[in-house]
């Protein structure tokens, strides 16, 4: 995988990595900067939390909590947040959430191949934006990526 974000101000591409969150990282994940109470996942064995960082930099630009549903060959995105300075029209980097969602898809396809699925339960008013931005498919209460839609987001963000 070769992942890179675009720095909005300079248009420069910066290499990034996505790795599993370590216990020490929770100290950094304040509600003020990452919008949610990430510490609540600290002892949750059923949730895997991932962080996105620029290569060679310890700062966390994005974080995502995933729940595996192996019986359904599916991974659910339970929670995702970009750091405060990467939200809105004045954000520093573009594509953080896209990279994290695509990464969830890569984990799903690695485990489940052509049966892989990534889903989330959207807030109603954001639903159409997820569909437009990430090519998500509508399943009523949930949105999901599977088949071509799942492959496409991987190809767009990760390869």
């Amino acid at each position: 995988m070769s992942m890179a974000l675009v720095e909005i101000k300079t248009r420069a591409r910066r290499e990034v990595k996505i790795t599993i969150l370590e216990d020490d990282d929770y100290k950094m994940l304040t509600k003020k900067r990452y919008h949610f109470l990430w510490k609540s996942f600290r002892n949750r064995m059923d949730v895997a939390v991932y962080k996105l960082q620029l290569s060679g930099d310890d700062d966390i630009l994005g974080v995502m909590a995933l729940i595996e549903v192996p019986d359904e060959s599916r991974i659910e995105i339970n929670l995702l947040a970009c750091s405060k300075e990467n939200v809105g029209k004045n954000k520093a980097y573009g594509g953080i959430a896209g990279h994290l969602i695509a990464y969830a898809c890569s984990q799903a396809v690695k485990r489940y191949g052509r049966d892989a699925c990534v889903s989330l339960v959207p807030k109603t008013r954001l639903k159409n934006h997820y569909i437009r931005k990430y090519g998500m498919l509508d399943a009523g209460w949930q949105l999901f990526l599977e088949g071509k839609a799942l492959n496409d987001i991987i190809l767009k963000y990760l390869l």
């Binding site: 109470l37 997820y130 498919l137 399943a139 088949g147 839609a149 190809l155």
Partner: protein, 175 residues
């Protein structure tokens, strides 16, 4: 979780590009959501083209290979031969046909798949070209390198054999 503050500052589009919020469904809603997802997924699966399936299969192989290479441990099961066999299988072609496509003899392909010989540089470049760069030559190369590394580190027989060709060894001990 309170999102009112954010709502004032950002448009829904901007929020969708930054967050996935937690949403709790009632048991009844959850049941309905599961049912809807199952039906929608079945439709997507039934509409997957052969190309979509091949793309998924290739991506799976590539990520498994990358995962193995990122993990420093040698796994005797996951050799070049294992991944080559997986690649040929997912193409759903006879070995004879695939051998022709990369211009090697079918016997040579069998030897590579059965781990009876190592590939030349030409072969790994041809594999990269055949996969349209989906599996880069460097990934194939690193697999072979990892096998060699393991062989060099662990092989006692070759050390025994080579002893007779070495004289006047250093006497310092820094092991």
């Amino acid at each position: 979780m309170n999102t009112k503050k954010t709502r004032v500052k950002h448009t829904p589009g901007e929020l969708a590009e930054a967050y996935v919020y937690p949403v709790t469904l009632t048991p009844a809603q959850k049941k309905e959501a599961d049912k809807q997802l199952k039906a929608a997924r079945a439709k997507v699966q039934s509409e997957m083209t052969a190309e979509d399936k091949l793309t998924s299969d290739i991506l799976q192989l590539r990520f498994q290979l990358e995962d193995y290479l990122n993990n420093e441990k040698f796994d005797p099961r996951l050799k070049f031969s294992y991944f080559l066999k997986a690649y040929v299988q997912l193409l759903n072609k006879k070995r004879k046909v695939f051998a022709r496509e990369i211009n090697i003899d079918e016997t040579e392909l069998s030897q590579l798949i059965n781990d009876h010989r190592h590939p030349s540089e030409n072969i790994i470049i041809r594999l990269e070209l055949h996969s349209n760069n989906a599996i880069p030559a460097i990934a194939w190369y690193k697999l072979i390198e990892r096998e060699k590394e393991h062989y060099i580190i662990t092989n006692k027989t070759i050390r025994k054999q080579e002893e007779k060709h070495v004289s006047n060894r250093l006497t310092v001990d820094i092991d």
